[in-house]
């Protein structure tokens, strides 16, 4: 495996930083765009990116806060991005589009690209799927895909209900049954919409797990849910991103 930091063209052609991890060898393979959580382009997300390379994919994680804070520590960059109102949806779509294009241009690409995101990144993974040509979408407990955003939220976040008709790629949703954002009711609404519009999907809600159950460096880590979730991701990407 090789893993390094590169520069890619993001939204509007902006040069942004990204972390890429690739398996050894020339075999054709799919690509995965990893969308980091709100705390930023951090060590834990880079570990996740490397795990996808270990699973056999070219994986890339764009630094969504690079414009606000180039070269800053991830927590400082996240603080700046938060103070400035967060990442606009259209910019996110452009950055993920740039990351996906980079993966597809690799000589090892089989042309297929999936997205995955955690927490706020889960919503952004779905958002990317509504607007971009991707082959598989994984949403790990993203809030405000459905449901109502409380009034007065200073960050530029809305639910994605109006955009969901654009979601054609199959969706894997992994949720904590004890989570309130997204709540089980919001997950049910997402399930109903995907059913009605015939978007293929597979949802799993883990009893006893709350939000952020994949986060190995946080008290919310839930071993059973995370282990099963990783198996579901591996099978889902194997089916939809394989050669």
């Amino acid at each position: 495996m090789t893993a390094t930091t590169i520069t890619i063209a993001g939204h509007g052609g902006d040069e942004i930083e990204a972390y890429i991890a690739q398996p050894e060898g020339d075999a054709a393979r799919g690509g995965v765009v990893v969308i980091h959580h709100m705390p930023g382009y951090d060590r834990a997300t880079k570990e996740i990116t490397r795990r996808f390379a270990e699973l056999g994919y070219d994986a890339i994680c764009p630094n969504l806060y690079f414009r606000e804070a180039p070269g800053a520590a991830p927590d400082d960059a996240a603080a700046v991005a938060r103070a400035q109102g967060g990442v606009p949806d259209e910019r996110l779509i452009g950055d993920v589009a740039g990351a996906a294009a980079y993966l597809r241009a690799l000589p090892t690409s089989n042309g297929k690209v999936g997205t995955i995101g955690y927490c706020s990144g889960g919503r952004q993974s779905v958002l990317s799927g509504t607007a971009l040509d991707v082959d598989a979408v994984v949403d790990c407990y993203g809030a405000f895909v459905t449901g109502t955003v409380p009034e007065g939220f200073p960050l530029k976040v809305t639910n994605l209900v109006d955009r969901l008709p654009g979601l054609k790629a199959p969706v894997l949703g992994l949720f904590g049954a004890e989570d309130q954002y997204p709540s089980p009711e919001q997950v049910d609404e997402f399930r109903r919409i995907l059913t009605e519009q015939d978007t293929p999907f597979e949802f799993h809600s883990y009893e006893g797990a709350g939000h952020a159950f994949f986060a190995v460096d946080r008290p919310s880590y839930n071993v059973a849910a995370a282990n099963d979730g990783w198996e579901r991701i591996e099978a889902f990407y194997g089916e939809h991103l394989g050669s």
């Binding site: 959580h37 709100m38 705390p39 606000e68 804070a69 800053a72 520590a73 927590d75 400082d76 960059a77 996240a78 603080a79 700046v80 938060r82 103070a83 109102g85 967060g86 927490c119 706020s120 809030a143 405000f144 955003v149 939220f153 200073p154 960050l155 976040v157 989570d179 309130q180 954002y181 997204p182 709350g210 939000h211 952020a212 946080r218 008290p219 919310s220």
Partner: protein, 88 residues
């Protein structure tokens, strides 16, 4: 969850920050969301920052909700304990 909730304001004061240096603080960001370091799912987080000095000019605090309320009470008690004219 990511609450996304963020309250911003401007302040005038100083904080002792990275490298042990004091710097002039101009902005605060307050939010209840995931901490970076505290061992709790959510905390009340305060960033004391000087944006014109760059992202690293920041003192961050992460407190449990109960701790944050006690801090508020302590600040209120300290301010109430001195004459108003001293606070000008």
């Amino acid at each position: 969850m990511c609450t996304y909730t963020t309250v911003r304001d401007t302040v005038d004061g100083s904080a002792k920050g990275p490298g042990g240096s004091w710097f002039h603080v101009t902005d605060i960001t307050v939010y209840f969301d995931h901490p970076f370091h505290a061992m709790a799912e959510h905390t009340l987080n305060i960033d004391f920052a000087a944006p014109e000095k760059g992202p690293a000019a920041r003192v961050a605090v992460e407190l449990t909700a109960d701790s944050a309320r006690r801090l508020m009470a302590a600040i209120q008690e300290a301010l109430d304990a001195v004459p108003v004219e001293m606070q000008a």
